[in-house]
Amino acid sequence: MQPGSCSPADRRLSALARHLQGSSAAMDHRTTLSASPTSGFDAAGSVFGHLARAPEDPILGVTVAYNKDRSPVKLNLGVGAYRTEEGKPLVLNVVRRAEHTLVNDSSRVKEYLPIVGLADFNKLSAKLIFGADSPAIQENRVTTVQCLSGTGSLRVGAEFLAKHYHQRTIYIPMPTWGNHPKVFTLAGLSVKTYHYYDPATRGLNFQGLLEDLGSAPSGAIVLLHACAHNPTGVDPTLGQWAQIRQLMRSKGLLPFFDSAYQGFASGNLDEDAQSVRIFVADGGECLVAQSYAKNMGLYGERVGALSIVCKTADVASRVESQLKLVIRPMYSNPPIHGASIVATILKDRNMFHDWTIELKAMADRIISMRQQLFDALSSRGTPGDWSHIIKQIGMFTFTGLNSEQVAFMTKEYHIYMTSDGRISMAGLSSRTVPHLADAIHAAVTRAV
């Protein structure tokens, strides 16, 4: 393999070597050894011959595996998508109403949105997370751009930081949503971790968190889950958030909030935004990625927003212009449908109110599932302290089960969950709690 050569065969070999170093994916031996001096494309070979098959995404792959299972008692506790008590997906009534209004409005067109998305949606999203009376908004210090749900907002924010921010390191909590490290790495940031989850208490390792952030280089970016930490469900208290804020500001660390569950965690929109708001209240800068996938049940519509709170209005406007340069070569402008639904609901007092009721109902059902699971394990006398199930908050519970136990539960009980022991409470119902409790009990008590 000569460094200076650029023939397709040599390129494929270099790509292959790099891929072998980094990837644990199974290789197709037939096609990866195809490079010969005369090979280009021919009927037997392929220019794509050196591509290995990627493994399924660990989170979304759970649903793929679940779908293949034929058992009548199978349970999908993988992806964080809300299910009703009947185990069905839910489209909120208020969403259906908004959609009817939109589809029946003959004056609506499908022209390209501006690169930054739907203006109303952006303003209303900022108000939702920062509070309608937020001085940062009133002073025009916030730029908000519509993006593709939480993932898209994180990616655009990260690409912007990689291009324009002097510190290219982002600290993410351990553990965090499986997609976070990939989003940031591909955006061009380097990823480090800070202590977060304490397996011993199944709670927050606050000391570890403070130490790690305390020793981060000045100016480093820090990813914070605004509420309902994914995957653990463990959140700092308000007092702890205040300390985190103080520490971060003293070190000049840049907060990047991932807010995917506003209103969904406690049932109250303002309560779930407190962490973000105390940071904004001190006049400092931060980034916030918002998603409407869960709290408005708009999963597949891909609706979200990235807000960057800046020191001045002038900076905010320059930042916005640069965000456009990130978005345009990625997908030009964002999809209109989901954002229109959100804007319709947020700007109508009655619909907004109705939304908060439906949102609280979803949050309450999840809280009740937590209680039921805890009670079911208690009544089975399952060894261990399971109180973390009711202490943790949001859609997910970090059970504390290890990957062998998880594999056992999948094989013997057809329970589908991620191998880190995370279960989506939203996928449980009163009817299925006993089956899950049996599975956990069996996994924990079986001879290893």
Binding site: S7, P8, R11, S14, A15, R18, D28, T31, G40, F41, S46, V47, F48, G49, H50, L51, R53, A54, D57, L60, P89, V91, E99, V103, V109, K110, E111, Y112, L113, L148, T151, G152, R155, H164, N179, V183, L186, R249, S250, G252, L254, D282, G283, G300, C310, K311, V315, R318, V319, S321, Q322, K324, L325, R328, P329, M330, Y331, P335, H337, G338
Partner: protein, 443 residues
């Protein structure tokens, strides 16, 4: 020692005001220079980005209050009344979807299966052996841009150092996409200003000269911005050269059905290459042909020599999409799947597409006729008629294009491109006057 600037973050507003007053006082005494600025943004050094050259045109148009203003900037179809157009089949599909009350669950990373199947069949033809042999990897993408970006990321990862060759000129966003994806690119000659036609020899020569195994970006039909397409015979020669050099054809198909009015005719370049057994990439968009602009619906297709390769390519495309946006939006995909999947709707779509393409062809003709009627010189304007699709390259240079805007309030891009989709029959005379004035009186 805590840096001064970070101390400020922990202070309340009142303290801050006192401090600021104090600092101003000290400064006025000349005793200290502010080595550490008060409340400086971390983004202070960011400059204002220039407006997007294409999308910026519409913004400027909106700001203009002149009664004769004409927006020939963005390629979005307009009716004769110069109104945006939502296709009737799209409204019907949306109503069907509403009635059915479908869920809004996440799509798989690769998108809606029914859409992916429909889009591959539309592109290659439903009975194409490639589809039966499962040799095409299709992943739903965010319209044309998003699909191109997925492909660019695939090239960057698996063909490091490989270049993409883009036509000179090409759609303005192509180079941005490859730049952001960190894929090197260079240009092949395409537009010949002398003939306002295709520089075919230059094109072939540049493709031949490119390093073996380059990706050649080709516009499937209705070249943007010029409207100049190779003839079928020229396509054969282009395919020959690409095969000779082991290049990989990379089609951008944004106007299938919209150029000639026929879905099959507009896909003939892609099908010609595919029929030769070539592997190729094809980015598709439904923005124009189904009028779904803002829904962001398209696809990236990779035709491979084996089903196994196609499966592996698809898995790697998913790995690229997941950290970008996780999975694509459902709404537009469902609309396409519903329209294509229902024979009555599909036929109605074809009729609406013929009407749109027909209107454009007819204003193209009318513009040409108006120009010829007004221009007493011997200049041959027939290149306007030979061009195809939404756009026309007028042959006007930058200064002349500026004159179109400044004097005549005709909004277009600086490269001389006009969008015929934004032209009405009623305005052809006015536009002809503007073009003639700009061509002859401005240099």
């Amino acid at each position: 020692m805590i840096p001064f600037s970070s101390y400020l973050y922990t202070m309340g507003n009142f303290d801050l005001q006192i401090l600021v007053i104090f600092i101003y006082f000290l400064q006025s005494l000349g005793r200290i220079t502010m080595a550490v600025a008060v409340d400086v943004s971390r983004f202070e050094s960011i400059t204002m980005a220039p407006p997007d050259p294409i999308l910026g045109v519409s913004e400027a148009f909106r700001a203009d209050t002149h009664e004769m203003k004409l927006n020939l900037g963005v390629g979005a179809y307009r009716t004769e009344e110069l109104r945006p157009y939502v296709l009737s089949v799209v409204k019907k599909a949306e109503n069907l979807m509403l009635e059915r009350g479908e869920f809004k669950e996440y799509l798989p990373i690769e998108g809606l299966a029914a859409f992916n199947k429909a889009t591959a069949e539309l592109l290659l033809g439903a009975d194409n052996p490639i589809i039966k042999q499962q040799r095409i990897a299709t992943v739903q993408g965010l319209s044309g841009t998003g699909s191109l970006r997925l492909a660019a990321a695939l090239i960057e990862r698996y063909f490091p150092g490989a270049k993409v060759l883009i036509s000179s000129p090409t759609w303005g966003n192509h180079k941005n996409i490859f730049n952001d994806a960190r894929v090197p690119w260079s240009e092949y000659r395409y537009y010949d200003p002398k003939t306002v036609g295709l520089d075919f020899d230059g094109m072939i020569s540049d493709i031949k000269a490119a390093p073996e195994g380059s990706f050649i970006l080709l516009h499937g039909c209705a070249h943007n911005p010029t409207g100049i397409d190779p003839t079928p015979e020229q396509w054969e020669v282009i395919a020959d050269v690409i095969q000779e050099k082991n290049h990989i054809p990379f089609f951008d198909v944004a106007y299938q059905g919209f150029a000639s009015g026929s879905l099959d005719a507009d896909a003939s370049s892609v099908r010609l290459f595919a029929a030769r057994g070539m592997e190729l990439l094809v980015a598709q968009s439904y923005s124009k042909n189904l009028g779904l602009y803002a829904e962001r619906i398209g696809a990236i297709n990779v035709v491979c020599s084996s089903a196994d390769a196609a499966a592996r390519v698809k898995s790697q495309l998913k790995r690229i999409a997941r950290p970008m946006y996780s999975n694509p939006p459902i709404h537009g995909a469902r609309i396409v799947a519903n329209v294509v999947g229902d024979p009555a709707l599909f036929n109605e779509w074809k009729e609406e597409m013929e009407l749109m393409a027909g209107r454009i062809k007819s204003v193209r003709q009318k513009l040409y006729d108006s120009i010829c009627a007004k221009d007493k010189s011997e200049k041959d304007w027939s290149y306007i008629l030979k061009q195809i699709g939404m756009f026309s390259f007028t042959g006007l240079n930058r200064a002349q294009s500026d004159n179109m805007t400044d004097k005549w309030h005709v909004y277009m891009t600086k490269d001389g491109r006009i969008s015929l989709a934004g032209l009405s029959a009623a305005k052809c005379e006015y536009l002809a006057d503007a073009i003639i004035d700009s061509f002859y009186n401005v240099s």
